[in-house]
Amino acid sequence: MKSIALKDVVKNYYLGEVVVPALKSVNLNISSGEFTVIAGPSGSGKTTLLNLVGCVDTATAGIVSVGDEDTAKLSERKLTDLRLHTIGFIFQNFNLISVLNVYDNVEFPLLLRTDISKKERRERTLKFISQVGLEGHMHHRPNELSGGQRQRVAIARALVSSPKIVLADEPTANLDSVTGQKIIDLMKEINEKEKTTFLFSTHDEKIISHARRVIRILDGQIVTEQ
């Protein structure tokens, strides 16, 4: 079953008169449950690709389908809903809400939903906090945690609403290599357990070597697939 499909996707940025082509006719299919790495040097278009898949940006041309929906045909509201229900985000800078503690941060996406009871909210939040091994830090604020711990919180937050797809833009870039490896291992473990589709970008070769599927991108074009 196709989870993500990109067909002839073009993305141009416009800096005044200057056109910056970030993606040039990208075709890509990712099935559900896959664990895929997008690799490429800086400026190659990794973030741009994830933005399109994550429905936070729209393509200049081509079709971006997420879970069988053509994102170009959805309204702003619907796209937000789609992000809420089917996509989990893990960011390079963790992007936690600074004023909330670990528990509140993880619970946050569930609070945006109306279809989850209070009890279920609590169960799920606790479940994912323990899954990323932060039971002992539930009431800490982000600034009281290490980088690795913060990224774990972000992973728990991305997974708490059981999304079909988790997108991670260079999740290890701000971590040392050991911690980075641990985070990747954790993601992999969840991928196997929850059958969640993972798509993440990195330019760390060590991590790339551990991935099952690697898509290499250069100057906005997919060069190889392994």
Partner: protein, 691 residues
């Protein structure tokens, strides 16, 4: 709820914004509550001062009034032309029967008069006359008085030809007459048979000689006719200070105590009183106050007003006492007095006491003394002049603002005398009047002309004044004055007659508007032809002051909160930019724009409520502590606004609630734009590298 949690925590995480918004809101709501409380306390104070002293809750007057009624007078200070209402008893009976909320009706009518208590010669001659009329013949006193009169006469010639004649042009013919009269008065033969023919002699001196003395003894009195007993009973602030109120059924006046002390009192004594008050009550020093120094200079230059009033014998005695007191060898009383009046901070109190114990008893301390009868002259708006001899029974004040100059003008007179002086035009009077006018035209001196001149009293004290004075004297005081002083009249007499306006006191002042409507409809139904206004309008400019102060207050609050909107808005925009990425993240995770909007909006709300409450709490503290002790009135006028010497403030939760609401509205307006801008933060800003 998560939004509340985040809003509260954001309060502390964005310290700069919180500090700015907090300061603005705390100060804004603090000053708003304190301001509103203060201004409303002043309004209440003024309302108290006015309604319990002179305006009552309502005022009625004729529908035919030309001017808008104002009890304090129009912009020139004269009583407005409001026509008159025919019969007080009728109006009173009907209104009291038909309008149940009426507690009392006090008839009134204002006017303006000249009182000429006479100069020092007039005074002494009058004393002499009394002495001769006494059963027991006091030869020593008569001799002393005669000597004083003689001394004054000897002084007149130089005074008249040096001063008076240079101001009023005197024809050669008149000069000759004056000299002849003076020669007569100075002649030994004139004094030889004085005791035997005292009435004719005194008559001659007061008619021919006394008017030659130029002085500015004339008092300008604005007065209000009323039923003294009803007035005293109805206005709770009324309080007799000296003497008594006008007894029921009698003609008479009670002056305001301030008028008595500041206009009627001897000028030198009055200045000494003022200096004393400044030193003891306001803790000023002569050394440090230009005003006080000026007063002392004036006293020195007018010391003649003291020694001219002393009999030659008294003057000699006082010279001895002053020499001892000042340890001076000077024997000239003029020089001694000038020296004596040259007071400083060190010697003031002892000199003040000396003045009152050794000098004051022998001078005319009050131009018109409580208990005395004096002539009063009014020029009616019909162009006629009316004079009466009237007794001053006492002085009164309005309790809580006795030192305020605002109420100085309401010298009370009985309504009977008021009506006589008002000079209502009956058909007979009208005829009489036109005849008189024709006569006047021939003489080329119209009374209304003179009245106009006397209006601008201070500037042209010269010619018109003495002319006027002699007119009053020759035509009035001595011959024509009706001696109605002792005639007793009944309450019915008082009530059965005209009045100009009347104060209405209500049982329940809260129902003012309804009562006004009721009075209007009764007036309509019964053809009373009266109109009714509330105390605020009746107080004229002073009533408008309340409105003015409120407008000032509300514009102040408006400006404060208007400026606050901009400050708060900027602070929020700053804070919003700081949270750009955080908001972008929320949007990426799946928060709708709606969520962002309500989150920020809620934050604004919580902040404004929180800080406004702090400000209100602070104002509560200040009002309870400072307002409970009372704010002292800083000057005499302030006592009127404060309705007492201190203004007490009371915290009103309704004002606080109003200010809180205002603060919330202001913050909501200020937060709207930044919150709206925040919804435009794109979710894409969450991804990629830190900027």
């Amino acid at each position: 709820m998560i939004i509340i949690k985040m809003a509260l925590r954001n309060l502390f995480s964005h310290k700069m914004k919180t500090l700015i918004v907090g300061t603005v809101l705390i100060l804004g709501s603090f000053f708003a509550v304190v301001g509103v409380t203060f201004v409303f306390a002043i309004s209440e104070g003024m309302k108290n001062s006015l309604t319990h002293s002179i305006t009552g809750d309502l005022q009625i007057y004729s529908k035919l009034a030309k001017d808008k009624f104002s009890i304090f007078g129009d912009e020139n200070g004269s009583y407005p032309d409001i026509d008159y209402v025919e019969n007080f008893a009728t109006i009173k009976n009907i209104l009291e029967k038909e309008v149940s909320n009426i507690e009392a009706i006090v008839p009134m009518g204002g006017n303006f008069a000249m009182v000429n208590p006479g100069n020092i010669l007039d005074k002494k001659l009058e004393e002499l006359r009394q002495c001769f009329k006494e059963k027991i013949f006091d030869a020593a006193k008569i001799l002393e008085l005669k000597e004083h009169v003689h001394a004054i006469i000897l002084d007149i010639e130089a005074q008249f030809f040096n001063n008076t004649a240079s101001i009023v042009s005197v024809s050669a013919e008149d000069s000759a007459k004056v000299r002849a009269d003076l020669d007569t008065a100075r002649a030994e033969s004139f004094w030889k048979d004085f005791d035997a023919k005292f009435e004719r002699k005194i008559e001659f001196l007061s008619n021919k000689i006394a008017p030659l003395i130029f002085d500015d003894n004339v008092l300008y009195v604005s007065y209000m006719g009323t039923i003294p007993e009803t007035f005293a009973r109805s206005f709770s602030q009324f309080e007799i200070v000296k003497g008594t109120n006008i007894p029921p059924g009698h003609r008479g006046m009670v002056l305001t105590d301030r008028f008595y002390e500041e206009e009627v009192k001897h000028r030198v004594a009055r200045r000494l009183d003022k200096i004393k008050r400044s030193l003891l009550e306001d803790h000023e020093t002569i050394k440090g106050s230009k005003t006080l120094q000026d007063k002392i200079t004036s006293n020195i230059s007018q010391s003649a007003e003291v020694y001219n009033q002393l009999t030659p014998k008294r003057a000699e005695e006082i010279v001895v006492k002053l020499q001892a007191f000042l340890s001076s060898k000077e024997s000239d009383i003029k020089k001694l007095l000038e020296d004596f009046l040259k007071v400083d901070d060190a010697n003031f109190i002892s000199r003040y006491d000396f003045f009152y114990s050794e000098i004051a008893p022998y001078i005319v301390l009050y131009k018109v003394k409580v208990g005395e009868v004096f002539p009063i002259t009014t020029f009616s708006k019909y162009g006629t002049s009316h004079s009466l001899n009237i007794k001053v029974y006492g002085t009164y004040r309005f309790k809580s603002f006795e030192r305020s100059p605002i109420a100085t003008g309401f010298n009370l007179i009985d309504l009977m005398s008021f009506r006589d002086l008002f000079g209502l035009l009956t058909p007979e009077r009208k005829k009489e009047n036109s005849e008189m006018e024709a006569e006047m035209a021939l003489e080329d001196v119209s009374i209304s002309d003179m009245f106009k001149k006397s209006d601008s009293k201070k500037e042209s004290e010269g010619a018109s004044l003495s002319k006027l004075k002699s007119t009053v004297f020759t035509s009035g005081f001595k011959e024509d004055f009706a001696s109605q002083g002792d005639k007793v009249f009944s309450n019915a007499d008082l009530e059965n007659g005209i009045f100009l306006n009347a104060a209405i006191l209500l049982k329940n002042p809260a129902k003012m508007a309804a009562t006004m409507r009721a009075i209007d409809s009764v007036s309509e139904k019964e053809k009373l032809n009266i109109q009714v206004i509330d105390w605020k309008n009746a107080a004229g400019i002073i009533g408008q002051l309340i409105l003015f102060i409120r407008v000032l207050l509300f514009s102040f609050i408006g400006i404060v909160f208007g400026v606050s909107i901009f400050i708060i808005m900027n602070a929020f925009i700053m804070a919003m930019l700081e949270r750009y990425k955080e908001i972008g993240t929320m949007r990426a995770i799946g928060a709708q724009k709606q969520f962002v909007l309500s989150m920020l909006f809620f934050e604004v709300l919580i902040q404004s409520v929180f800080f406004a409450c702090l400000g209100i709490l602070l104002s509560w503290l200040v009002i309870v502590i400072v307002g409970g002790r009372g704010i002292p009135a800083w000057n005499d006028i302030a006592t009127f606004f404060f309705s007492g010497s201190r203004l007490y403030l009371f915290f009103d939760w309704w004002y606080a609630a109003g200010v809180l609401l205002l603060a919330v509205i202001v913050s909501a307006i200020a937060g709207l734009y930044p919150a709206y801008q925040a919804t435009k933060i794109p979710p894409v800003s969450a991804l990629g590298k830190t900027h």
